[in-house]
């Protein structure tokens, strides 16, 4: 990696969310509204700080700051490189919207929820800015435990059970990951840093050793990234968590696992070594299985958030599949999908939240005619859902296009079949929702002549603005980012820089 300049901004970005925590502590319980606004300001300021780095990052600069070190080779260091910055931008943006949304959505124990939200944001940014695996692991583990209170926030039996499951999976995964890092440190000659072309090589360690490292990493991060046999906690955690938390879970926290795998593939092993070890075959097949099977599972779910959760499982594996292609377009599509999926799934989960708040309905079968009651929300929902299927012009289409092109570059058109199957299945489980919402209505709109009428479209009475605005913003971005992806700060502008280096 090139020389990095010292800068406190990454540290500032990681520390700023804690200001919200201070706000909660500093102001009395009575000043509830003031506290909430301060929390929002905290997340806004964080986003602003992250954004301020954009010009420099686009110029190819990297910024670094050392936090602490155990010994020479084991240090906690924050570095802003293009890839990390890209992730941080997604995190900060989605988090800001989720905070706005939560201000209206969360109706009890605000303090706990917002405190842990802020903490998790800090840890996520720490993950994004980590300069080496050691730092990444530290922030990753803290984020794991920090997100537990978000999942069980409702404190229902279901939430508790989901939280328990989450912890079991997360602790087991953390342990495996820990082992992976020790093995990495041991066989990587004490090198835990991220290199542009990977740091491990067959010079220092045997094939079997590197395979061990890779698969323990894959298993460790795979739990968060919900690769198929390890996905068990996801479908329980999402419906149990409050909607903004589910949006963050799907949009960002699952991605922390995926981002870890990206780091492992790009910066620890490097494309050449992966090709040499032939581990990408396993990765790709796991991803393909996950994409198809998760979509099939999604079909069978009636609970909306559960269906969305299964959809997330499948979608995150797009990223893994893109990486496993080991081709320029594949990697580009996979990594860009990280942001794309965050936008789409964030929007969908927030819509589900609006539905829940306004009508109390959780199951799709109960949602007949809901599009008339909540037109804006459901339009946004439809936009995001169509994008998920890969309809142009939207971010979903960009992903699918790039992945398809990547599989041709890799010379494995079989992936296209998987992608098409997935698109088909996506359509099969999203279109019925749109259909039910807009084109089927319950029979209670019967007039005095005994005739059934369309329910009336009611605009302007949807819900609190704090709920609707984030939904609309996300839906708009799903389209805008899909069309102008090269605008500075949008995924293509950042990701292409990284991928062009690795796959020239």
């Amino acid at each position: 990696m090139q020389e990095s300049t010292f800068s406190v901004i990454p540290l500032l970005a990681v520390l700023l969310p804690w200001a919200s925590l201070l706000a909660i502590l500093a102001f009395p319980k009575r000043a509830e509204r003031l506290r909430l606004w301060l929390c929002f300001l905290g997340s806004l300021a964080t986003f602003g700080v992250v954004l301020s780095l954009l010009p420099g990052v686009l110029d190819g600069n990297t910024y670094t700051i050392k936090l602490a070190s155990v010994v020479e080779s084991l240090e906690m260091r924050l570095t802003v490189d293009t890839l990390g910055y890209y992730f941080a931008l997604v995190v900060a943006f989605l988090w800001m919207l989720a905070t706005v949304y939560s201000m209206s959505y969360i109706d009890h124990k605000h303090n706990r929820f917002f405190a842990f939200m802020a903490m998790c944001e800090s840890f996520m940014l720490g993950c994004a800015f980590s300069a080496n695996m050691f730092t990444y692991f530290i922030f990753y583990e803290m984020m794991t435990f920090g997100s537990y209170p978000l999942i069980i926030h409702e404190e229902t039996t279901m939430a508790r059970r989901a939280g328990y499951k989450y912890l079991v999976y997360a602790i087991a995964a953390g342990t495996v990951l820990f082992f992976a890092i020790v093995a990495h440190y041991f066989w990587g000659d004490g090198q835990l840093g991220f290199g542009s072309y990977g740091v491990l090589s067959l010079e220092f360690a045997s094939r079997a050793a590197l395979m061990t490292v890779f698969f323990t990493y894959l298993a460790g991060f795979g739990v968060k990234a919900a690769i198929m046999p390890l996905h068990g906690w996801v479908p329980d955690a999402h419906p149990a968590a409050p909607s903004p938390a589910s949006a963050l879970l799907s949009g960002v926290i699952l991605k922390a696992g995926a981002f870890g795998i990206i780091r492992v593939c790009f910066n620890v092993f490097g494309a050449d070594l992966l090709r040499e070890l032939e581990v990408y075959v396993v990765m790709a097949s796991l991803a393909c299985i996950t994409i198809v099977v998760a979509s099939v599972f999604a079909l069978t779910q009636d609970n909306l958030k559960r269906r969305l959760a299964y959809s997330s499982i499948g979608q995150v594996s797009y990223i893994i599949l893109g990486l496993a292609m080991l081709a320029h377009d594949g990697a580009l599509g996979g990594v860009m999908h990280l942001a794309h999926h965050a936008l789409m799934k964030g929007c969908l989960f927030l819509c589900a939240g609006v539905i829940l708040v306004k009508t109390g309905k959780k199951n799709i079968s109960e949602m007949a005619g809901i599009g008339y009651q909540l037109p804006i929300t459901m339009i946004c929902f439809s936009v995001a859902a169509l994008a998920m299927m890969g309809t142009p012009p939207s971010v979903g289409f960009v992903t699918k296009w790039l992945l398809g092109s990547g599989s041709l570059q890799a010379g494995l058109p079989v992936y296209i079949v998987v992608l098409l199957a997935s698109a088909l299945l996506n359509a099969a489980y999203f279109l019925p929702i749109i259909y039910i919402a807009f084109f089927r209505w319950e029979g209670d709109e019967v007039d005095e002549h005994g005739e059934r009428h369309h329910p009336k479209l009611v605009f302007g009475k949807e819900a609190d603005h704090k709920l609707v605005v984030p939904v609309v913003v996300l839906a708009a971005l799903v389209v805008i980012v899909g069309i102008w992806s090269n605008v500075p700060g949008f995924p293509y502008s950042l990701v292409s820089k990284v991928v062009n280096v690795i796959f020239p």
Binding site: A68, V70, P149, I152, R160, I171, F178, V182, F186
Partner: protein, 494 residues
Amino acid sequence: MGAWRHFPIFMITLPLLGAVLLPFLGYARERWVPYAALLPLGTSTLLGLLLMGRIPADGFLSYHLGGWEPPFGIEIRLDYVGLFLMLVVCGITFLALVYSRRYIGKEVSGGQRTAYYVLYLLLSGAMLGFVATGDIFNLFVFMEILALSSYALVAITGNRNPVRAAFKYILMGAPSSIMVLLAVGFLYSATGTLNMADLARRIAESGYTEVLIVSYILLVVGFGVKAALFPLHMWLPDAHSIAPSPISALLSGLLVEVCAFALVRITFSVFTLRSSDLVMGTADAVGVAAVAAVLYGGIMAILQKDLKMMIAYSTVSHVGYIFLGITAFTAEGLTGAMYHMLDHGLAKACLFLCAGNFIYLKGYRRIEDLKGAWSQMPWTCFAFALASLSVIGIPPTAGFISKWYLILGNVKGGKWLYAVVLLAGSILAAVYCLRVIYYMFFQAGKEGAWEESWRDAPPAMLAPVWTLSLATLFFGIFSSLLIPSLLKAAAYLL
């Protein structure tokens, strides 16, 4: 050579002197005893800190008592690792003593309070002397003081259960002391010397292999009992859970570790090892016992209903960690073991003191009683949670750093299985710690379990608890203060 040369002996004798003088104060002004007791320990801590920069990581300070050169007189031989542990001892005993005033004021009846502080200072001074000494018979002498005072401290309330637990402790402890004494005698008969450094030289030349083998085994078993290594741990859960909480903190957080450290000394400084098969054989056995300890302690801790009992079993498990670090025979492993002594000491002391807060305020001992405790005792609960994270080994607490080095050390030593066991141990730790945290924070308490008024423990009890829990965080983040020197010192020991 300046006056600092004398600091180690001051650190040891000041608490002992304090112990002898306290009874006088006890007769005159009993109320002042808890404050006066702080004085010697505080001074010792200060002296230790002043000494910190003076001892190089790859050297030692040798102090000849009475001016007699080593094999003839007694030597205090303080290396970096020893000083490190002495500071841990000083710091934790000081904090637990601050805590004691309120707690003991309630638990122990008037006449015995002075005796409590006397024994407390004796125990602290003995641990310091035990760590610092370079003479194997002297090691035994200090072990006797610390064993005797800890028996009495366990039983101090004089009620039926504590006395029974203390008796159990004595039943295991006294034979172990005798084993150590026998081993020291055997070693003397085979070498004619008691000084550790001299012993190391003469053991290498000695022809009495059988005597040496048996004395090593006896030492391992003897110190193993005091350090509660797995099959010899039976006394620990009772004694540690029934003793007054500050004493539990001391026993679990320090005594056990100090005794494990004695084994480090014996293994690395006396039986200069790796050459002889006997030590390696015993070390393998110790490794197996440690594996069993990690798993058994963890599982038993999960099964407990009593909070302090759970913490005590967790100690059994963590002793296994320390021994796994020692038996790795790598600098990293030994560093991990030493750092684990620090962070386990801090975290365990903190957990026991938190448990003490619950007992002090509400008399709650069972884990189930803690449901919803957060709403009324937030400070205690948060400190508990933080210390638990260190026990589990979650970054960025100190527990993570020590776990890192323990595992790395075992991996470097080629002991992959042990590394996996360590990981399994931390999963078990997660299960038993998170259960308590879950009850505290995420469950509603029973009706009337927590009165409405917001009342946490008094500041005099919270201050030490929070110092300890923040220290686990501090030493996690700023581990670079100690780790490089410890690595160097460990390499020097090996």
